[in-house]
Every structure is written in C-alpha cells, then in structure tokens.
C-alpha cells in the first residue's frame, strides 16, 4: 500500500435547491472556507485544515443529490494508468479538461455500476491551511468558526449493483474491503465499507432499489467533544438532524447524521479505527445490523434505509 495510487477523497460535487441559502449554511453553520465561484455558478469550499483549493462544491439544480465524487491520485502517471486500466476492465472513461473545476487539473470521469459518477485527478492547487509550513501554529481562527470540520472524509452512496462497485474499486483502483453487512440470506452484501488508505473507510455503498443516490457526505472532527459541539451548533441554527450524537458499531466512529438545507444528508464524525492491508474484514450479520449502524440505539431508524437524495 504505502499511499500510492488513489490517495484520498478529493471533492464531492453536490446539487442544492437554493444556492444563496446553501452558501450561508456551508459557510456559517458548517464553517467551511469558501475558495471560489465559477462562471457556471458553482461555489467551492474547503475545510480549514485541508491544503488543496477545494473539497466540496455546490451547484444549484432542480433536484438535490450528488453530481460526482472524486479521488486524488498520487501522480499524473497514476492518472494515465488508472484511465487505461479502467478501459481495459470494460469501464468507459471520459476526460474533463483541466480548469473545468477551479484550480483543478484534468479529471478522468467514469460511471460505476451503481450509476454514480466517480472522478480521478492528480493535480489541484495547494492553497494551504492558513498556517505556515515553517514553524506553524496548532490551529487558526477558521478552526473555530461554525462546526469547522478538518477534512471532507468519505461518502456513502446507494444503488443496485454494489457487488460490481466492490469488484471495480478492488481490482482496478486498489481499494480493500474493511467491513460489510450481510442480508438475511447470509451471503448477499447489504452494505460494504472500502478503504484506499489506513482509514476505516474512504467510500461505502448500500444496496438500494434506485441507482445514483446519495446517503451522506462525511466530514471529520477531532474529538467526541467536537461532535457534541457540532450538535449544539446544529440546534442553535435549527439544522435538521437525522440521528445522533451517537456511535456507529461499524467503523466505531462517533457521529451525527443531519441534512443540509436541500435535504442532502451530511455527517460529522470523529474517531474510528485504523486499518492495515493485513486486517481481515469485519462482518455484521442481518440480525445485528441495528447495532452495527447505530451502536447505542441498536436498531435501524426508518430514515437510514429510505431517505436519500
């Protein structure tokens, strides 16, 4: 592994119903840093501790949901190799020109079996985290504005053929399976959590009747204390909370699920364990899926499986 190939989630492009309201929410409640707007009307954000120009992009549209989710790869040679490997695997790709997204290099874009658009790119302008690379401070004012997550961490997507996704992410992109939930039959996966790093997950999928759906985009916080602080900020701002603060059995992160003003689910979470390539995957059986998803409630809420955008 040693962090080559696909490095990490790079950006999520999310559709919103009312741009101005969403800009206000992502800036002042989430505490993301706005880094630009383009001529298509897309608005760019990063988390305060991220160094690249953007990790979260919103665009106004008639419906909510996710437009694309992208991963940064280590080198331009990696980008070329993944492009040809994807085609050889039977997955058509297209190129999106450098600069289409602000300060972002050329992207390789492809559709995965669940119908979602995934992008790879090697270059994005480094704008820094507001602190020097020489003798830096521990944090800066932006770390306390709003919820202020440190990074965009992962996403959970819903669609039909999650087995096809797992095969593609493992065989072509070098991801590994970390955890899974089995359906009643004991063999079919209801859900899978995949990593390309030592994180417990970089992307996850749940089997669902409809393709191309977003369950949540997740943002990382430093501590359980900050998860509670995030919940307070949500209540102060009357943010729609789905569930939490609580803990996931799966990946062991402490979490809140909540919704942006267009109904896109977001997560702020902290913790979870670290994974190495010699770790055996964890399996959750159908009977205990409730405890797997929500460790304290120990039951699924209706919204977890049916409310998506």
């Amino acid at each position: 592994m040693a962090m080559t190939g696909v490095l990490r989630p790079g950006h999520a492009i999310v559709r919103v119903l009312d741009l101005e309201e969403s800009i206000d929410f992502y800036t002042n409640v989430m505490g993301l840093v706005e880094t630009g707007r383009d001529k298509l009307g897309r608005v760019y954000f990063k988390c305060w501790d991220e160094r690249d120009h953007n990790s979260f992009v919103i665009q106004q549209a008639p419906s909510a949901g996710i437009e694309a989710f992208a991963f940064k790869v280590r080198t331009k040679a990696d980008l070329e190799k993944f492009d040809s490997d994807l085609r050889a695997y039977g997955c058509p790709t297209e190129r999106v020109a450098a600069g289409d997204l602000l300060e972002t290099g050329e992207r390789v874009r492809f559709k995965i079996p669940t119908g979602h658009l995934i992008e790879l790119y090697a270059e994005k302008k480094e704008v820094g985290n507001g602190m020097s690379n020489v003798n830096p401070e521990a944090w800066c004012a932006a770390a306390e504005k709003g919820i202020a997550p440190t990074r965009m961490d992962h996403c959970l997507l819903y669609g039909g053929d999650i087995d096809g996704n797992q095969k593609l992410f493992k065989e072509v992109l070098g991801f590994d399976l970390v955890e899974r939930v089995k359906l009643e039959d004991g063999t079919t996966d209801l859900a899978i959590w995949l990593t390309t790093s030592i994180k417990a997950h970089d992307i996850a999928f749940v089997r669902h009747a409809e393709d191309g759906k977003l369950h949540h985009v997740s943002f990382l916080l430093d501590s359980w204390e900050k998860v509670l602080r995030a919940a307070d900020i949500m209540s102060m701002n009357r943010v729609s909370i789905d569930i939490g603060p609580t803990r996931h059995g799966i990946t062991r992160g402490t979490t809140i699920y909540f919704f942006d003003p267009s109904g896109n689910r977001l997560e702020t979470f902290s913790g979870g364990y670290q994974w190495y390539p010699d770790t055996e995957p964890v399996t959750w059986t159908w009977e205990e899926v409730g405890r797997g998803i929500f460790y304290h409630d120990r039951k699924l809420n209706d919204r977890f499986l049916s409310v998506v955008t």
Partner: protein, 109 residues
Amino acid sequence: MVYHVITIEDTGETYKCDERISVLEGMENLGKKGIPVGCRGGGCGVCKIEIVSGNYKKRVMSRDHVSEEEEAKGMVLACRVKPLGEMTVRVLGKMKKNVCKVAEQPVEV
C-alpha cells in the same frame, strides 16, 4: 405568533402550526404523526402531501419528487410549505422499506 389549524385528512389528526415554520415541522414539534419525516429540506420526497384546502406559502422543492404540474395542483412537500390559514392535507409520501425488496431479489454471482 400566528397559529393555524392543520388537519391530516387520512387520520383526522389536527394540530396548530406556527405560520413561521413548515407544516411538517409543526407536526413534529408537537409529537404528532401522519406525514412521514425525512430530510426536512425538500430533497427526499417522503413528506409529499396534497393540499385539500387552505392557503400556504411554498419554497423551491426537488423536481425528482414533485413535477411542475403536480405542484400547480397542490401536490407539495410538507417540509417546504408554511400555512397562511387553516389547512387540510392528504398524505401521498411513503417511507419506503427498500431493504425488504432487496432481500427478495435473486442473488447474482
């Protein structure tokens, strides 16, 4: 504060809703039930209702769940509608239990 009485026709449930909040939030705030609650942001579609009578103010809602024609006929998302007077509504949305459907799907290898 101005409140309006909302009646959910399907169950006969009634509640008073502050005109500054949505018909869905008004129901939830009082622990009432009847309209399914999802994202509360006009994105997921589970709170879809039909306005049987009454005046209301609405905000932009997802076209995946409410077409222009439907919206013109008073089919809306309850989380995007605030009452301007007494209202009667009928529930159209459902909390789909997709996982049950999935469990019945044949397993592909």
